[in-house]
Amino acid sequence: MATNRQLLRPLYFLQRAIANLVHAPLMSLVATATIALSLFVGAIFALSISGGEALLNAWGGAAHLTLYLSPAAPDEAARILAQRAAFLAGPQATVQTVTHDAALARLKHDLGDLGRALDGLEENPLSPLVEVRLPRSANAAEVRALADQFARIPEVIDVDYGRAWLDRLTSLLLALRWTAILLGVVVLAATIFLVSNTIQLTVFARREEIEIMKLCGGTDWFVRTPFLIEGALQGLAGGLIALGGVALARHLLLPKMADALAFAAGMDLPRLLPSQMLAVAGGGAALGLLGSALAVGRFLRA
């Protein structure tokens, strides 16, 4: 079969694809640019979202939970609770016990001059408490889950962890994520649509060539293969250009952002992991291939 003979000639098709790219630079440029820009916007967009999440979490800072025992509970009960809390909160958390006396001393200190008035008390009416300081890496959902666990311990009569604050942080992240999902879907759909239409236009500009190939006895695969290779090459080039663009944007933005990020010590502008870079480049190639396949397919059927 001649078809099989052709499929065994990948070099021939690669050669023809490259010749076409070189001979019609406008078209290859437009398709490549469309893919590059779409991927660039998509990547910057994904990085902004992930950066926003990281920033919000950093803003929250280290979370701080306070477990109150009954005022009647002995200091020993607080110490036992502290051990249990340390176990639940994990090795990275810092746990501190505040006894009846320590609680009163703290209040006196806080009241300053007025503190002397407390010396007249016969009995200490304050509760002992346990303070749990979580690492910065703990996020809102983890804090909330831990607070719920603590609240279920019978000795604990109240858990204070800035619920309102956490609720707002969680809401904000949720809003961010919904926007991200919407915009992500839009950018992806826009990319596929634009790329396939742009390639359709380049195929249209070569309709005579396709017609002549078919009149000379070329099979559909003979017509299609160079277009597919061209699409994949354009897509790959687009992906690589997008990666370069992301690196450049990061480079330009880094000094501007330094101030804004000063409070979030140790936080850096988000970067693409090697696997994500591969995904961008491969995604470009896939996009180009898919766009070409759709465009040529529509054309060959017509």
């Binding site: 001649a2 021939y12 190939m213 078919k214 009149l215 000379c216 006895g217 070329g218 559909d220 003979f222």
Partner: protein, 219 residues
């Protein structure tokens, strides 16, 4: 080799351009197809290489029933047919050489041998010196000869030539017809559509005359 039985081809809203036409062209026969402008010569050739489907009737080419051919089988039919199009149909973004070699590449020939044979064929139509030009830069008659070279380069069993000498002067016309006669002598079946009845007197062959899609004379 080519057999038409009661073939009709009509386009929506027009009277048929081919009307109930029956015709047999034997293997290795040479036939002129004549008739005035709009008689249906081009349409008849297009039916034979399956660029159009007949509205009714049967067409058999090289033993295959064209009307029943699946879309994926058409390319393989066309590889046995060399066509000279009335409007040449050359690729403007490729060189003349590539245009001719292309007909060989389509059927799976390797690039090197394809270009060699294409260059040789260009020599036979007197255009070896224009091999590297794009067709746009050629004169009308030169483009026509490229189209002829492309049709003949893979020595097809059937050659359909539509006005192959419309842009050529008398001496080049004789050269090109000689190429077709040679090909015919080597066994190819050849149909040449032309409005030029002068050709028939200079090169007497079987001539099928069409008018308004009907055969008006044969012989």
């Amino acid at each position: 080799m080519i057999k038409l039985f009661h073939v009709t081809k009509s386009y929506l809203g027009d009277r048929p351009c081919i009307a109930d036409l029956s015709l047999t062209v034997d293997k290795s026969e040479f036939v002129f197809l004549t008739g005035p402008s709009g008689a249906g010569k081009t349409t008849l050739l297009r039916l034979i290489f399956a660029a159009e489907r007949p509205t009714s009737g049967q067409i058999i080419v090289g033993g295959r029933n064209i009307a029943r051919l699946s879309a994926s089988a058409i390319p393989y039919l066309r590889r046995n047919i060399g066509v000279v199009f009335q409007d040449f149909k050359l690729l403007n973004n490729r060189s003349v050489l590539d245009n001719v070699a292309f007909a060989l590449e389509v059927i799976g020939e390797r690039v090197g041998p394809a270009r060699r044979r294409a260059r040789e064929m260009l020599g036979r139509v007197g255009l070896e010196h224009k091999a590297e030009s794009p067709p746009q830069r050629l004169s009308g008659g030169e483009q026509q000869r490229v189209a002829i070279a492309r049709a003949l380069v893979n020595s097809p069993a059937i050659v359909l030539a539509d006005e192959p000498t419309g842009n050529l002067d008398a001496s080049l016309t004789a050269d090109i017809l000689q190429l077709l006669f040679d090909s015919n002598a080597r066994g190819a079946t050849i149909v040449v559509a032309t409005h030029d009845r002068g050709l028939l007197t200079r090169f007497p062959r079987r001539a099928v005359q069409l008018a308004h899609g009907k055969m008006t004379s044969d012989g």
